[in-house]
Symmetry: C2
């Protein structure tokens, strides 16, 4: 990789001829999709609001970062001393880590927002170490610290990956991007195992790599389809940390994928947590493990995180930008710009086009967008959900009645997203006195997810973000009891109470234990707050199943009649309902010409297609959309 290949040489020559002598450049190399310029005098590049960096970036059409020349850097001891003096005490500097491979210095602080930018510049110019500010969450998060430690421990491996990535992203294309195909690997005419392959003659980009939860194990996307070739995969882009979008990602690494994965930083953290839990549950339940922690670590080290709005080259002639999706913490919509103006694709992933307590709504103004791939979970005309406020009232009623009966409210939740939303709702109801302060039991994993939320307040709604800035923990109160190893039989004894447990569709996890114990208690309630995929136990119960069959910890099969009261509270959904889907399409800027519906049951997809193609919709909106509804295992051309 150190061989000077054509592209790198061109870039070096362009930079050399554009920079004044006094800049004292000592090296130019790739660092992922960015070009890193090593210099003895970073101030030449960054003064005047970084005018020189901007000019270089414009000329070479690549993003540029400036790094201090390794020889000229201040020694770590003196640099640390300088940093400790420079950073204002109110920022709460906790730790300083030097990465001698990249020349970065990590400042772990309690309040990153309290360090003025000029302080960081001063640190850089004086020490030649590039400061990188990390938030230290107010509560301890195992996930956050483990990921930070992993990267620190693997700094050489990581920089090697980034250099290789740069060379690959900027390779000279052999074929022109004159044909673009959408290959349906999963979540077309179904919900689950999301996987969309965007294919040009030169590049292959996989959007999401999910699992489909079913009654018997999980189904992978159609990775055996001839269109999909791991060897020629350029990038995997993950929209958010739910197993039906990210669950198959470690499998790709197990199969031998060595390329990059793009996601937001919260998604990276939450995904790690999901994978660990998945392996743990599989082991406990004696299921076949699809992958191991080794595969998870490979993928963590091959992940390149992006913020919303950050434009990045991910293959020759393909640029990726994430936009806010409003679904869960860090959830993103994908914008791909292909072939210098040839075509632009927006893939929504899971998306909520409405404000929630936790998150701002999905964004829908794009620089360009001809093709929209939109989720259709609630694509049927009848899929109109109540507002979150109404849902809260309904939940309050169920909780109140169950408390009066001295029962337990058991709420199956996805660890990520719904759990936090429901927790916030319950705390708010208790605060307002609408519901008595009964104990709320949550499994440890849900608590860890809340801690990750507090590490990334920039991704949350203004209200919650402000609480975190003010050092208030929005997810805790005295009533919340985090379960750490207590026997589940004992927990259920404490009545009345509320229990939040995973998995959200009753396909595994601790919730099944609680359900087994509580099933024949007619005073207790089972409350579904999220979408139940076809074939899951959750869906079956909603469809009327009352004869349940469990395996207890000793391996004995236990049959029980479900006597709990079963409720479905819909307003907490992280998905847009039918009205919101329609509004998203109507208000999207610019209007797309082609809309591809995915992530929905076949019937809902067809119904939504008919509606969007109808004369009525055309007249009402003035939109003449080409609405496509490919099935899994189809490949369609958009150019």
């Amino acid at each position: 990789m150190e061989a000077i290949i054509a592209v790198a040489r061109e870039i070096r020559e362009t930079i050399a001829s554009n920079v004044p002598k006094e800049a004292e450049i000592t090296k130019v190399d790739f660092e992922g999709p960015k070009v890193a310029i090593y210099t003895k005098r970073p101030q030449v590049f960054l003064e005047n609001d970084g005018e020189l960096v901007k000019r270089i970036a414009k000329t070479i059409k690549k993003r540029v970062i400036v790094r201090g020349d390794p020889e000229s850097r201040l020694n770590e001891g003196s640099a640390e001393e300088f940093i400790k003096k420079a950073v204002p005490p109110e920022a709460g500097l906790k730790n300083v880590y030097f990465n001698d491979v990249t020349g970065e210095v990590e400042l772990e602080v309690l309040y990153p927002e309290k360090i003025p930018p000029e302080v960081l510049n001063r640190v850089f110019f004086e020490t030649l170490w590039t400061p990188r500010v990390l938030r230290k969450p107010p509560v301890h998060s195992r996930t956050v610290s483990e990921i930070r430690e992993l990267y620190r421990a693997s700094k050489q491996e990581r920089i090697d990956f980034l250099r290789k990535l740069g060379y690959k992203v900027y390779r000279k294309p052999i074929f022109p991007a004159d044909r673009v195909r959408i290959v349906s690997l999963g979540a077309f005419h179904e919900v689950g195992r999301s996987a969309v392959l965007v294919q040009t003659p030169e590049a292959n980009i996989l959007l999401d790599a999910g699992l489909k939860p079913t009654g018997n194990g999980d189904e992978l996307p159609l990775f055996d389809l001839p269109e999909f070739d791991l060897e020629s995969l350029d990038a995997v882009v993950i929209t958010h940390a739910h197993l039906d979008h990210v669950g198959a990602l470690p499998v790709l690494f197990k199969y031998g994928y060595k390329g990059p994965v793009y996601m937001t930083e919260p998604t990276l953290h939450l995904s790690k947590l999901l994978f660990e839990d998945y392996i743990k549950v599989a082991q406990r339940e004696g299921k076949n493990e699809l992958y191991s922690m080794r595969d998870v670590n490979s993928l963590l080290l091959n992940t390149y995180t992006l913020s919303y709005g950050e434009v990045t080259d991910i293959a020759p002639e393909i640029r990726l930008t994430f936009y806010r999706a409003g679904h869960i913490l860090g959830s993103a919509m994908v914008h791909l710009h292909i072939g210098e103006g040839l075509i632009n694709i927006v893939y929504t992933g899971d998306m909520k086009y409405a404000r929630t307590m936790l998150l701002d709504p999905a964004y829908n103004k794009f620089p360009r967008a001809e093709v929209l791939i939109i989720e259709s979970t609630y694509g049927s005309k009848s899929d109109v959900l109540p507002s979150e406020d109404d849902a809260k009232l309904e939940l309050a009623k169920i909780v109140l009645e169950t408390i009066e009966r001295k029962g337990v409210v058991l709420i199956p939740v996805l660890a990520v997203g719904r759990a936090q939303e429901v927790l916030l709702a319950l705390l708010d109801l208790m605060k307002k006195g609408a519901v008595p302060r009964v104990p709320i039991f949550i499994e440890g994993m849900i608590d860890e997810v809340s801690a990750v939320h507090m590490t990334f307040p920039e991704y949350l709604s203004a209200t919650i973000r402000e609480m975190i800035y003010r050092d208030e923990n929005p997810f805790t109160s005295e009533n919340i009891h985090v379960i750490r190893g207590e026997a589940r039989e004992d927990i259920t004894e404490k009545k009345p109470s509320i229990i939040l447990a995973t998995s959200g569709m009753l396909t595994g996890g601790p919730v099944l234990d609680y359900l087994r114990i509580l099933a024949d208690d007619e005073n207790s309630s089972l409350v579904f707050v999220s979408y139940q995929v076809e074939g899951t136990l959750g869906r079956k119960i909603l469809q009327g199943l009352r004869k349940l069959s469990f395996t207890d910890p000793s391996g004995k099969v236990i049959n029980k009649d479900l006597k709990m009261r079963v409720y479905r509270v819909e307003g907490f959904s992280g998905h847009s309902d039918r009205r919101q889907l329609e509004a998203f399409i109507r208000r999207m800027e610019p209007s797309p010409r082609t809309v591809i519906l995915n992530h929905g049951e076949a019937g809902k997809i067809e119904e939504f297609r008919r509606y969007l193609s109808s004369e009525w919709f055309k007249k009402k909106t003035g939109l003449n959309l080409d609405v496509l509804t490919p099935k899994n295992a189809e490949s369609i051309r958009i150019v």
Copy 2:
């Protein structure tokens, strides 16, 4: 391959337990998709109208042929003596060839129809050689004799291929055929480079492998599409011998394809001729040759010919049957039966649903058919062609007027099909006195194609077939002069005259020489009688191009204004016009549920789709068709 694999063992055991002792079976093996039973007493199998063979075939669900035990065969000398006595003299026995590898004896006779079946049985029972009757054409055909010689010289190679094929066709499938895809490799939203891949999880069948003629060389189908993998290709099925359907076939062998090709016997012969001509023209014109005669010979030896109506297994759970297409000699429609009743596909290839002088119309009653892939060359509402009789009158008028001006009628023809049809029309007009008997010049290749027609009278219309049976050559008269090496300048001197020359779309071949010489002769006429593909010189002239540029034999570029009168006579087309396409769909039995339109320009395809999907068409016909118009490089699911 000699190892007894599971399938073969099963078959052998089934046969052994179903056959009486006195049959004296000595060996059972595959011979292509058929199971060959070697026996000392073939009469046991074939007596009572072959009752035993039929029973075995029904039990093992495979086609069965009976071969004499090699040890017990009569020696070749005595066998030949026996045959010469047994065959009635009126059959005109000319040659006898023994194939000691397969145990067949070829009887080359002038009139195969004059040998009663019982004579052949007697030859078999007495000599233990299986008689195979071949027609010796009344005029010499280089193609026919070369192909027969090739097979005789490669008898061991051929039987090895057939055995291997049998094992491959009858392998135990690993995946169930629960998904069937149509992958568009060529001729979707265009005319030319026909190539349709039918793909199940277990098998890959390529229907046609054509080239697209263009202004600059020929375009291959999208063989670089990831769905297409030469290694896992099970079979290539060719509908007819036109380069836009068969022209890329030798390229597959050049790339390393080693599997079987299925076509009719006339298609095999005509294709060989086309390939030779293609190579010759390419060499003469200094173009890049896409393949060599070595590749052509490989494909000839890997071809398995089928008659119309013959049902054959070509892969596990896939059965192929050819039906008459009415387009050119030997042209076939493809019927695929997939997965024990899962789905049936009819692919028309090029098809004429009307009687012509030369051929009976396309067949359209099938045992089952859910999906129809139909050509749409004339899919536009305005594509209504005159009848062949009207076309003849129009041609007569043009010829008469040109003769009066003492000019030359230059007719660019595809060597195969249109040339014979136009020749028949001209001869008929002269016979009836509608046109004076001026000389008709044809290039040697067209004459050779006519000779191939006379070798396969069973594939022709009743009238022409009867002429051949009566030993009349329908394609000759005193006026026809076959050009063999004469200077083209000299030919054009003989005015008035008619010249038929290839290629039919002015993309190369001798017609370009004649056009160069005659271009500025305003007394002469240029008459197009077949479809002109977009981008070809023929199409451009029809669109008004009059400034032509040629390279003369010395390599000099010559610019000429086209002063010839340009005509287009449409009724000789080998394609169905719009009314015939519609009639074919309406009258097809059973009615398909899905109709896929291909082999048409994008505009015509769209127009035809709109019509077939319209309420008007539904009401008129009662058909509620799902009409699909995939583009090249799309993969759609039909199951």
